[in-house]
């Protein structure tokens, strides 16, 4: 005996698989965006202003400059302590020799050309070239400050690249959404095709369109929700795997945002299921008998 078609039945597996794949890809984009955002945040937090000091400053003078600096709005606070490090010219020279591999002492003898400096980390909101320039000018007015330096253009480059990543990912997500709508619509449309005369029979016995739609919509919502759950589980698995395999990735994880992302996927899945089914059923509800044949 042929399998009996249940009212409102659609090829579950096909719809759920298509929706799951699409939702998973959307989730991946979401994860990438979250990680990119966090990465940018970390990069920005590690940007330092180097406040070079005049030579031969007394300890009290160094202290007074430090006190001026910690009062500045733009200084990044971590657990309430300002992120300012003093690097003496000797330490700086050692670092320079280690990093560049060149020993200036062969040319200049013991005459250290470097300056003592304060490395100042800055808050994210001051992270653009215009604001950094203002800060530089202001700090250079402090007596005892020789020069203020930062990696110019780096800041704007990071900002620009982050915007580009967001743009590319959002276009990709939009395309994916469009593909899901078309894919799911077609799958549901095909499955409803075999039930078009049942839909017609329901109309002719006096059922309202809302009553006819109900079982189909419930089914669509459940399929969407199931796909969302499967896609979310896959994403969690993928994320956990990536964190274990890729060193340092754990720094980019933000649990609260990840939960919002997964909730978003469940909501998108359910909505897609409902909207696609609604649209397909609506089509058959509007057709006349001749058009159905």
């Amino acid at each position: 005996m042929a399998k009996i078609k249940k009212l409102g039945s659609t090829p579950n597996v096909m719809v759920v698989i298509s929706l799951t794949i699409a939702l998973f890809l959307i989730g991946m984009c979401g994860l990438l965006t979250l990680n990119a955002r966090k990465l940018a945040e970390l990069v920005k937090q590690n940007v330092e202003l180097q406040v070079y000091l005049d030579d031969d400053l007394t300890t009290s003078k160094l202290d007074s400059i430090y006190k001026i600096l910690i009062k500045k709005e733009f200084v990044l606070l971590k657990e309430n302590s300002p992120q300012i490090n003093f690097i003496s010219k000797e330490v700086a020279a050692k670092q320079f020799i280690e990093e560049s591999g060149e020993d200036y002492r062969r040319l200049l003898g013991d005459n250290n050309p470097l300056h003592n400096l304060y490395a100042v980390k800055i808050k994210q909101e001051y992270f653009n070239d215009a604001k950094l320039k203002e800060i530089k000018v202001a700090l250079e007015l402090i007596p005892g400050v020789h020069e203020v330096a930062y990696v110019e253009n780096f800041v704007d480059e990071v900002n620009k690249n982050i915007s580009k990543i967001y743009l590319v990912l959002s276009v990709f997500v939009m395309l994916l959404l469009l593909i899901i709508i078309i894919l799911v619509n077609n799958t549901i449309k095909l499955s409803l095709y075999s039930q078009r005369f049942l839909i017609r029979s329901m109309q002719l016995v006096g059922a309202t369109n809302g009553f006819i739609r109900k079982p189909f919509i419930i089914k669509g919502a459940l399929q969407g929700l199931t796909s969302g759950l499967v896609a979310s589980s896959c994403l969690i698995l993928l994320q956990q795997l990536a964190v274990r395999k890729v060193e340092g990735l754990v720094l980019l994880q933000e649990m609260d945002k990840m939960i919002y992302l997964l909730l978003g996927i469940l909501i998108i899945g359910t909505l897609m299921g409902i909207l696609s089914t609604f649209q397909s059923v609506e089509r058959y509800l509007r057709l006349s008998l001749d058009e159905l044949y």
């Binding site: 005996m1 009212l7 029979s201 016995v205 006096g206 001749d290």
Partner: protein, 227 residues
């Protein structure tokens, strides 16, 4: 309140199939409790006329009133309420294959606003008795013969005590013996007070059960003398 107003009145109506006029200047009325055959060759416009009367085809020109509903100005949202006052039976009319006879009929009652489960069950038993299918209440549609399925379809059409049944070739898929039984059933329903408009080209039936005849021919609907 009792009124003698006809169940169907159609005046100066032009019946269209897509862009093409299939019937011109249609005028007739059907009174309560009347049995009317609608005859004519295939493509003569019988089905289009019926579809217009149960608001499946838009009446673009002319006037029609069915069971108190004005057809030419009817909005899509009003159609279900017209269809609760009439019954529609045609050969491709499907039953839900995933539920038994009683559940099929219960679904219709639920869909048309019934809520009291005991009253619904009583009504289902009543119509099944009327069509001689009382013993098949728990059977699945695939366990029924074509004639029996058609009886269930008729029972379904009777659930809301329609003022009129529109039947489009209701015996088209049945053998002559079963067809005879189905037509007989329609006559019994008619005797109980329900008007019937039946499209058919089964002349044996028309001879066997004489009734008023409307004929679709050359783009017009004409009264035909009884056989």
């Amino acid at each position: 309140m009792f009124t003698s107003e006809p169940v169907v009145v159609i005046q100066s109506a032009f019946i269209y199939q897509n862009e093409r006029i299939v019937l011109n200047d249609v005028n007739f009325s059907i009174n309560k409790g009347e049995f009317v055959f609608l005859i004519g060759r295939t493509g003569s416009g019988k089905s289009s006329l019926l579809k217009t009367l149960y608001a499946d085809l838009w009446l673009q020109q002319g006037k029609a009133k069915v069971a108190g509903f004005t057809i030419e100005t009817m909005k899509a949202a009003e159609r279900p309420f017209l269809r609760r006052k009439i019954g529609v039976v045609f050969q491709d009319f499907q039953l839900f294959m995933d539920r038994n006879v009683q559940e099929n009929l219960m679904w219709v009652l639920e869909a048309t606003g019934w809520t009291d489960s005991a009253r619904m069950k009583a009504r289902v038993a009543e119509v099944l008795m009327q069509v001689g299918m009382s013993t098949s209440r728990d059977k699945m549609p695939h366990q029924l013969s074509g004639g029996e399925q058609q009886r269930v379809v008729i029972a379904r059409a009777l659930l809301n005590e329609p003022q009129i049944l529109f039947a489009d070739e209701p015996t088209g898929n049945l053998d002559p013996e079963v067809s005879g039984q189905i037509i007989e059933l329609f006559h019994e329903i008619n005797k109980a007070g329900t008007a019937i408009l039946m499209a058919t080209h089964d002349f044996d039936m028309i001879r066997k059960f004489p009734a008023r005849i409307l004929k679709c021919e050359n783009g017009y609907v004409k009264e035909q003398p009884q056989v």
